[in-house]
């Protein structure tokens, strides 16, 4: 049993054993990474929580969920009350319970680490509570709207930031129209998070649940910059929130990048998330993933689980520099991904079709990353690029952009008055679901204050 920062990887049948998942097992490979707790597990784990005062785990949660409070409710047999405590701070508590890198957030701060080295599994408990409530279709939506204000708010983007903002604004009594470029809501919850974290169409169920508050209308296939303009929104609404995420990705800048088989990792994951059954999703036999973040790791693991023979993740610096958490890196290895550090891609190799990639070894010289001149090749019939996302600035004319992010003040207001922004498209905390939810919530509160003074 491998213990990864307190998580027993063997809890998931899917990642026990050698890590190689044969083609027949493909669909199993996309079952839950951390299966849902049974009532017994929830009882045992909730009783490990010490009910800390001014708890460090709460400070470490970007949405400041009252963690000791909700865990205590689980332990007293009140899981639905626990869910309300969670959702009142984080309306996407269900997705966050599945996707948050808890090992660097709440669970890292848990005092149980100090003497026992094993944090309370806050994420799993959170999921237990939220799932319990969401399974009870007969219940009304847990939150009530304040008396209607008659104010109209436009939200651009139905990702975690946009939907969190919409929900909080509706709660505060405003009416919200969401404009979403795609055909489905959820943003990266629907298109980006790893398939083994978001099983069973959870992203869509969560959106449906969230819309239960009422007062939110979503218009699909409506893109800012293409179908609608910022001016039109500003004229038609009392306030605007922009939560468009990072719509573009970085290029390697190598000849042959448009070659068949050289794919963007996010596009690959998006296609996988939309394919059912998962075994219908095409994948190469020898896959190279370029990058060092969680997207790279997610893409590599999912390629492996789809049945690729060999998946090699290549990163230009050392393990300690990777943005992927230690836990994610370990998970990649357990899944049979070969991880190579200190090498950068220098050429795409093809002879009619893609055959591989050439790399140059790298090292740090006086703090600068340089090639050593030593080269090697890895064969591949698929290359997945995961070297970062960036903002799609063309759509965002009218707001100041700096350092690749929309500029906002401490109240989430952009340089254009009455236009607010949050999520991955601004610089708040890390680019994480939970941070985007917090941004959306805080922006709605700021918009409410803005509307009262306006």
């Amino acid at each position: 049993m491998t213990i990864l920062q307190g998580k027993q990887v063997s809890k998931s049948g899917a990642i026990q054993g050698s890590g190689h998942i044969g083609h027949n097992d493909t669909d199993d490979g996309f079952s839950d990474l951390h299966p849902a707790y049974s009532t017994l597990q929830a009882m045992a784990e909730s009783n490990r929580c010490l009910y800390c005062y001014d708890a460090p785990c709460v400070t470490a949660c970007p949405t400041s969920i009252d963690i000791p409070g909700f865990i205590r409710k689980i332990s007293t047999g009140n899981p639905d009350g626990a869910a309300k405590t969670i959702l009142s701070a984080n309306i996407m508590g269900g997705t966050c319970a599945r996707a948050c890198p808890t090992e660097v957030l709440c669970e890292q701060a848990c005092v149980r680490n100090v003497s026992e080295d094993v944090a309370v599994e806050i994420g799993s408990l959170q999921r237990f509570a939220v799932d319990h409530l969401m399974a009870r279709d007969e219940l009304p939506h847990p939150f009530k709207r304040a008396p209607l204000t008659g104010k109209q708010i436009a939200v651009v983007g139905a990702g975690p930031a946009g939907l969190s903002c919409a929900h909080r604004a509706a709660m505060l009594g405003h009416d919200v129209t969401v404009f979403e470029a795609k055909a489905k809501p959820g943003g990266l919850n629907e298109y980006g998070l790893a398939a083994y974290k978001m099983t069973n169409d959870f992203a869509q169920r969560e959106v449906e649940f969230l819309l239960g508050i009422g007062g939110i209308r979503i218009e699909y296939g409506k893109a800012l910059g293409r179908d609608i303009s910022l001016e039109a929104l500003r004229d038609g609404y009392d306030a605007v929130f922009v939560g468009v995420g990072l719509g573009a990705t970085n290029e390697l800048g190598l000849p042959g990048e448009a070659f068949d088989g050289v794919d963007d990792a996010i596009a690959f994951i998006e296609q996988l998330r939309q394919t059912e059954p998962k075994s219908d999703m095409p994948v190469g036999n020898n896959v190279i993933v370029i990058g060092g973040g969680n997207t790279a790791v997610d893409a590599a693991i999912q390629a492996k689980r789809l049945g690729a023979d060999e998946v090699t993740l290549v990163y230009r610096r050392g393990a300690e520099h990777m943005l992927a958490t230690e836990y994610e890196q370990e998970l990649a290895k357990i899944n049979g991904v070969v991880v190579r550090h200190w090498a950068k891609p220098v050429a795409i190799k093809a002879n009619g079709k893609l055959i591989g990639m050439e790399f140059e070894k790298t090292e740090l010289r006086d703090g600068k990353l340089v090639g050593t001149g030593e080269k090697f090749e890895i064969r591949a019939d698929q290359i997945l690029k995961a070297i970062g996302q960036k903002i799609k600035a063309d759509d965002l004319a009218g707001m100041e952009i700096a350092g690749g992010k929309i500029v906002v003040d401490e109240n989430y207001q952009t340089t254009a008055s009455g236009i607010f922004a949050g999520g991955d498209c601004i610089k708040s905390g890390e680019d994480l679901t939970v941070q985007s939810v917090e941004d959306g919530k805080q922006a709605a509160i700021a918009i409410d204050a803005f509307l009262k003074t306006a």
Binding site: M43, A44, S46, N47, L50, Y51, C52, Y53, D54, A55, P56, S75, T76, V111, R112, V114, S115
Partner: protein
């Protein structure tokens, strides 16, 4: 391994651990298994006059902690529901097959002299080492004028004890109910009646929980519930006090005591003996874990005795009794303060909020530069209540340290702030 043999009411026992009169001692099958597991003796499930009682279905309620560990159970069972002759025959067989083990016959009858005497004689003839009088059952039997209906009236306690003492020539244990105002009245009554020992406590009268769907107290019998007898580790503090009161009161201290009530670990047993019990009885712990718990009782006690240098149980029996005092005898000048060891502290903040909200605002929470929190006792404010020391989740992280003082031992009756102070001589 230390010698655990002991003597109570003149009866020699292999060890001080007996099973109390209850389902674990209901029949030969259980008793044989208990002796094989290592129990020194049993008090047979209470026998009554035929025809046997009839029990209801659904009999136990439970008091769980949030982790579903049982803190206590309550029951609405009556006495043995098997014919007297069957029980007596099985007692004879057990006595023969296990001659070194103690069997006490427990009994109860309506408040009539002949009934008590006849039943006591029949039980004595089966070869038991002694007889225990069940004057404690707080449910069912009391509605028929037995059990606690007798145990709650000191005159009746004395009367039935005397009847049985007159009828048999083996030791008599009077089993006391805790459902009274003053345990000493019952103990004195038993002593006057001639009891060789008292056994205590029987179960505490209780309603353990309510089923919130049906609005019926548990255990539920077809839509109704009734009060029952509470036992298990939750009742230990109640029992310890009653044992200690009997052991330290001059009028009752000569009674031998069979300590009962919530004994679950060897430490519990040692505490009962230190406060006055000559031996102990266990029921709920066996019902929860099976007879094998006696392993820990035996091994833990003898290990502890070896560590402390005790070679017989008499050496620590009643050792804590002299230190049990009245509040008015305590030293008002004693001062103790909480001390937090920062190396062990895991920063849960529990001590701070407990003292801040409910005690004396004596634990400061300081946020350090690195974001870590530091918990510091403010000596001037700390009254030494022990709350933080008890709630800290880390053992030995908070200790209570006595403050050195030159002040004399001073009781409340002597204290200058006492308006009714007795002038110092």
């Amino acid at each position: 391994m230390a010698d655990l043999s002991c003597k109570i009411a003149g009866i020699d026992s292999l060890n001080p651990f007996w099973l109390a009169s209850a389902p674990p001692t209901d029949k030969k099958y259980n008793v044989v298994r208990a002796f094989q597991a290592g129990w020194g003796g049993v008090v047979w499930k209470t026998l009554g006059i035929d025809p046997p009682v009839v029990n209801v279905s659904s009999r136990y309620g439970a008091h769980h902690d949030q982790n579903r560990r049982l803190l206590g159970i309550n029951n609405i069972e009556l006495i043995s529901d098997r014919p007297l002759s069957v029980n007596l025959q099985e007692i004879r067989e057990c006595r023969k097959e296990y001659p070194d083990h103690v069997i006490i016959g427990s009994m109860m009858a309506p408040i009539e002299e002949r009934a008590w005497k006849d039943l006591a004689q029949q039980i004595a003839e089966s070869g038991v080492h002694g007889i225990e009088l069940n004057l404690g059952c707080p449910h069912g039997m009391c509605e028929r004028g037995m059990g606690s209906a007798i145990g709650q009236v000191p005159e009746m306690v004395e009367q039935v004890t005397r009847w049985v003492k007159d009828a048999v020539d083996i030791p008599v244990f009077t089993k006391l109910t805790p459902n009274i105002t003053n345990i000493l009245w019952s103990a004195e009554a038993a002593l006057k009646g001639g009891a060789d020992a008292v056994s205590l406590i029987n179960t505490v009268n209780s309603i353990i929980s309510v089923d919130l769907d049906s609005m019926v107290p548990e255990p539920m019998v077809d839509g109704k519930g009734t009060h029952g007898g509470y036992c298990g580790s939750a009742v230990k503090p109640i029992a310890l006090n009653m044992v200690a009161e009997i052991a330290r009161t001059p009028e009752t201290r000569d009674l031998h005591i069979s300590g009962i009530g919530g004994i679950t670990t060897w430490k519990d047993a040692v505490e009962f003996m230190a406060l006055g019990s000559n031996a102990v009885q266990v029921c709920t712990a066996a019902m929860i874990y099976g007879f094998r718990v006696v392993d820990d009782l035996i091994d833990g006690m003898s290990q502890w005795m070896d560590d402390k240098g005790y070679t017989s149980v008499e050496q620590f029996t009643r050792a804590a009794v002299p230190q049990v005092a009245n509040w008015n005898e305590l030293n008002m000048n004693f001062d103790t303060k909480a001390v937090i060891n920062p190396d062990n502290c895991i920063e849960c903040g529990r001590c701070h909020i407990a003292c801040e909200d409910t005690s004396h605002q004596a634990i400061a929470m300081n946020v350090k530069e690195d974001g870590h929190r530091e918990f510091v006792v403010i000596d001037e404010e700390c009254v030494g209540c022990n709350l933080c020391y008890h709630i800290c989740p880390v053992p030995d992280c908070i200790t209570m340290e006595p403050v050195k003082t030159d002040k004399p031992y001073m009781t409340w009756p002597e204290h200058p702030l006492n308006p009714m102070r007795q002038a110092a001589e």
